[in-house]
């Protein structure tokens, strides 16, 4: 086995895993704060990326487009909270889950209705080429875009961590995540908090949408990345941001390695389900995921 090739596949997988984590973080944020399993996260990523790229194509300045898209996502998050979730408070989780699937349809239809359904290319100014110095010194080929995306993901996670740790809103968010009723009892306005969480999830969706869009182009297939993030979630635990990151890295790396070394044996194309099987096997050992809250009522 070629060692350099092995490392190339491994690093490529880890970087792809970071991209999965970016999507997974959006799920975790909402699940933690409101107990809603937000299936519409993939559609939100698509919506954000499509809005941004369409604005840029209409000649809007890059940064202004970014700000406008961010504003749209924040408004969207708040609207979802008000129109969809607030009337469904105290319903069983499966009802809320179904509502977010309905929301997925609405968002997919809406974004294509407004911006059209043709695929777009997204240029972030980082060429998708291998890094010269790395190729020359070690022979490993790694794309600059991927590395840049990993960097962005790192910054995003760090800033989210700071936001949660040191701001007033962040502390309120953590309190709500811990215990809804206790948070209400000490006077934290639950409804505002949920609106904020959805807005933050919209922001994360925007970042994920930009990264994925730069990599694969902005097209309808972007909505399916939610399905890529789900095994990351069950591996890392629904409630844990570090879990989402580590889960993403594990899934990304093992998926790529399996595709390269094990895929040819069974006819290839295994990336559609391999991540799920890893996650499943893992769950048999640790049913609550890597960092999930321990559930004691196992039967």
């Amino acid at each position: 086995m070629n060692v350099a090739f092995f490392f190339e596949v491994l690093i490529g997988g880890l970087l792809a895993g970071v991209m999965y984590s970016l999507v997974a973080i959006g799920f975790v944020l909402i699940y933690k704060a409101s107990g809603v399993f937000n299936f519409a996260q993939g559609a939100m990523v698509f919506f954000a990326a499509l809005t941004f790229v369409s604005l840029v194509e209409r000649g809007v300045n890059f940064w202004i487009a970014l700000v406008i898209t961010l504003a749209v996502m924040v408004v969207l998050g708040m609207a979802i909270e008000k129109v969809v979730l607030r009337p469904l408070v105290n319903q069983p989780p499966i009802t809320l889950f179904m509502a977010t699937i309905g929301l997925t349809f609405v968002l997919e239809g809406l974004s294509q209705l407004v911006w059209g359904s043709q695929p777009h290319a997204l240029e972030l100014g980082i060429p998708d080429v291998p890094m010269e110095w790395l190729v020359q010194s070690t022979g490993i080929v790694i794309s600059q875009t991927d590395l840049f995306a990993a960097g962005i993901a790192g910054v995003l996670v760090a800033s989210l961590a700071l936001f949660f740790q040191y701001t007033r809103i962040g502390r309120a968010l953590r309190a709500v995540a811990d215990d809804h009723q206790a948070a209400l009892a000490v006077g934290i306005p639950l409804k505002n908090i949920w609106a904020i969480v959805w807005a933050v999830a919209g922001f994360v969706a925007l970042v994920a949408g930009l990264m994925w869009g730069a990599r694969n182009g902005v097209q309808f297939a972007l909505t399916f990345i939610a399905l890529k993030a789900l095994p990351v979630l069950i591996l890392g635990g629904f409630e844990s941001i570090p879990g989402a990151i580590i889960g993403g890295l594990i899934i990304g790396a093992s998926e790529k390695l399996a595709e390269v070394y094990f895929g040819p044996m069974v006819g290839g194309g295994i990336e559609s389900w391999f991540a799920y099987v890893i996650a499943l096997l893992f769950l048999l050992v640790r049913p609550q995921g890597l960092f999930g809250e321990k559930i004691i009522d196992r039967v």
Binding site: F97, A99, G102, V106, Q112, G269, Y276, G289
Partner: protein, 358 residues
Amino acid sequence: MLYREAGQFKSTYAEDQQIFPIRQDRIAVAVLLAVAFVVVPLFANQYWLSAILIPFLIFSLAALGLNILTGYAGQLSLGTSAFMAVGAFMAYNFVLRMPWLGIIPSFVLAGLCAAAVGIVFGLPSLRIKGFYLAVATLACQFFVLWALQRIGWFMNYSPSGVIAAQKIVILGYAFDSPASKYMITVTIVAVMALLAKNLVRSETGRAFMAVRDMDVAASVIGIPMMKTKLLAFAISSFYCGVAGALYVFCYLGTVEPEAFTLDLSFRILFMIIIGGVGSILGSFLGAAFITLLPIFLSVASGAFSHATGMEPSHALLSNLELIIFGGLIIFFLIVEPHGLARLWQIAKEKLRLWPFPH
């Protein structure tokens, strides 16, 4: 007045335990069956039979299967269409490779194959539950489709990746007109719905509901957790498998593995949510709603373009349809989270008192 059970006394246990204890219900079911078996085949035209009624019945059957698993046993599953795919492709193979078997036994065997797959992918339910389980069933969805596409045997090495269902021949009679296909479908669906209705009021069905309501308490009172959960997966997958076989043999005719997408699973999940979780009737109501909605939308858009003279583009229509579909689902969940079956219950309460409010 119309719907009053007062005065209907039961003097034997057999009477008390019959499947429809209220006389009005018995009459209603008899009328419904008469309409389904006699009136519809006589009067419905080809379009109604093959584009609306047959898919409605097939989806009802699949929804019934999912309802047994999700509504009665409380295990959320997103792999319904994978079980349908197993049923469809195994039925094709049984008919192809063992033609002496006959169609109906092939369907049953195909359902049993789906049940076996269901048991395998139900195993995680012994360790995890809730959304973790739902995501785990997605593994089934992707793995089954992948296996059907990659392993040529399932499709008889068809170079186009499409299989064509064989003709349905029972005792020398070829069922190839829409009306005869409808008769097969409605017979199978009626029999299986009756079985399901009986299942949920049997010991097994009560065990399912106990597991759904509180699994710890259920295991404390002596319900074997492993057997019950796996049985729920097996029965549910059996129903879905038969529905899948009917889907190919009576509705589509030709099919490829890509027809059984995650989208189809979601549609069936919507059916039971909108119809009513944990209700046999609800499966049918939900299937009717979801089957009719796209047809209604296209008719409405046709009327709209006819009235205004504008011709909306195809892309616009399909996007609008997505939005309306999703919006209606959210609306329904907000207005009536217990589904159409609950509305029917309320109507029955009202009928019981009508026309006097007290």
